[in-house]
């Protein structure tokens, strides 16, 4: 995580325009120290979210932890866009849920705005409260999919919920789920 220049581009430009080099050095040092200390502890979306926002620390989570419009998600496959988003500290945001209720749950299809691109994906783990025997994850996980239906990544190195396997036999998107499940490594 050495992406400090990604974080405050506006500030940087302001400093460079004023040519106050001493101040610039100070701020850069401060920010770098801050990031290294926090991000070495754990790689979690919420940390990045917090860094991305500002120095003030306040929670942005909803009370029900539902996946709605503009809620942030983590990409867990090894696609290059997902990695870039994680390093840049810019998690993808949900633009649309292909669903009548407009609330995403496990196995629902969503459209995501990630690094300025429009991508489609499947929700593969939720922070929301779940039924019995269904796992509840600490983060909202998503697997990206191309328009043709093939997954963009080649491997998923995170566990997927076991109840996702019944989607393979369903009427909707059964072909796309078989492709996702074939690149998965672990089930919970």
């Amino acid at each position: 995580m050495t992406g400090s220049d990604h974080i405050f581009p506006g500030k940087l430009i302001a400093y460079t325009s004023s040519l106050d080099l001493n101040l610039l050095q100070k701020t850069l040092n401060q920010t770098c120290n801050h990031f290294t200390t926090i991000c070495s502890k754990r790689l979690n979306i919420r940390e990045e979210e917090q860094c991305f926002l500002h120095n003030k620390l306040f929670s942005t989570s909803q009370c029900l932890m539902e996946l709605r419009l503009r809620s942030r998600v983590r990409v867990i496959d090894n696609s290059p866009i997902g990695k870039a988003a994680a390093t840049a500290g810019k998690p993808g945001k949900i633009m649309h849920v292909y669903n009548v209720a407009a609330v995403g749950r496990i196995g629902d299809k969503v459209m995501i705005n990630i690094m300025g691109q429009k991508k489609k994906g499947y929700i593969v783990g939720c922070r929301q409260k779940q039924k019995t025997n269904v796992p509840r994850f600490d983060t909202n996980n998503v697997v990206l999919v191309e328009d043709s239906g093939t997954p963009t990544g080649t491997r998923i190195r995170h566990p997927l919920p076991s109840c996702l396997r019944q989607k393979r036999y369903g009427e909707k998107h059964s072909g796309e789920f078989t492709k996702i499940l074939s690149i998965a490594t672990k089930f919970v």
Binding site: Q50, S61, T132, F137, D138, R157, H158, P159
Partner: protein
């Protein structure tokens, strides 16, 4: 006082103290039958099939003191509006039947479990999950417990119904207690405190030893948190460095309820009293007596 007033006085006093019938002075708005009245009807000789009194109530059985914490799911709810003697009895029958089929071991919040569940879509028709028990909730057939583990950078929690027929086995890998009744704060703690290897070998305690208490104090991670853990006085948490603002401090001061510490009636309403606990646990002692030699702790 004139004569009429005296008469009214006499009537009211009679109303208050007539017979053994408990009078509730707060009028019951609901059109329901009270517990004691219903039990009287069930046992009365005028009815078609009068219910026989239990032999268990008359027997003198010593209930061990730790049974209250060993079998917490057998304790009925404290609210008398939600209680019924026959329903509880039928529910307990089902629970005992289930316990003969599957061995439910002794475990507490903070001990490590491995659970096998039937799953139609798994290739082996079975899934195994290992985790730390965070909470035990509810009573009767509704009891459930939550296991937590941290796998490949993902915190995962699964809730299980204890009396669901899908459960194949429950195995205790490490028997332990923690300082708190629920450990939901582990969600916002560093992941090493909730990571457990799937191939962990069970740790056996020597026979007859007491259940060890783990006095570990867990540090909290950086904010944002799921809830304001630092305010809630958990014993198993390290005090955080968070400095409260002026408004937050005022809010915390206002939310404090020091008078509830000694509110005796509030405690009585929220917790079930000891006499009711004993009548329930007597049955548990009788039913578990047969198996006790078989499933003694950590042989």
């Amino acid at each position: 006082m004139n004569i009429i007033q005296k008469h009214i006085c006499r009537c009211l006093i009679q109303k208050c103290n007539s017979g053994n019938v408990p009078l509730s002075f707060v009028p019951a708005r609901q059109a329901t039958v009270l517990n004691w009245l219903l039990d009287k009807h069930r046992k009365s000789q005028l009815s078609q099939q009068p219910e026989k009194e239990d032999d268990i109530e008359q027997e003198t059985i010593m209930v061990p003191r730790d049974y209250k914490y060993l079998y917490p799911e057998f304790l009925p709810p404290a609210n008398y509006r939600h209680r019924d003697r026959i329903r509880e009895k039928l529910e307990r029958q089902d629970m005992f039947c289930r316990r003969t089929m599957i061995e439910v071991p002794e475990f507490y919040v903070g001990s490590i479990l491995a659970v096998n569940v039937a799953d139609t879509y798994a290739p082996s028709k079975n899934t195994r999950f290992v985790g730390l028990c965070i909470s035990r909730e509810n009573d009767g057939l509704r009891t459930n417990f939550i296991l937590r583990n941290h796998i490949d950078g993902n915190g995962i929690e699964i809730k299980y119904d204890m009396y669901s027929p899908l459960l194949q086995s429950i195995e205790v890998l490490k028997l332990e207690k923690r300082l708190d009744d629920e450990l939901f704060y582990l969600r916002d703690c560093p992941p090493e405190y909730s990571t457990i290897q799937f191939d962990m070998e069970p740790i056996h305690l020597p026979t007859g030893s007491a259940v060890p208490l783990n006095t570990i104090k867990v540090p909290l991670g950086p904010r944002p948190w799921d809830k304001k853990w630092d305010i809630k006085n958990f014993k198993g948490l390290q005090p955080s460095n968070r400095v409260l603002g002026k408004r937050a401090a005022i809010r915390l001061e206002r939310s404090a309820k020091p008078w509830e510490e000694h509110d005796l009636m509030k405690q009585y309403r929220e917790n079930i009293n000891d006499e009711d606990v004993e009548t329930v646990l007597k049955e548990v002692v009788l039913k578990t007596k047969k198996k006790s030699t078989k499933s003694q702790r950590r042989q």
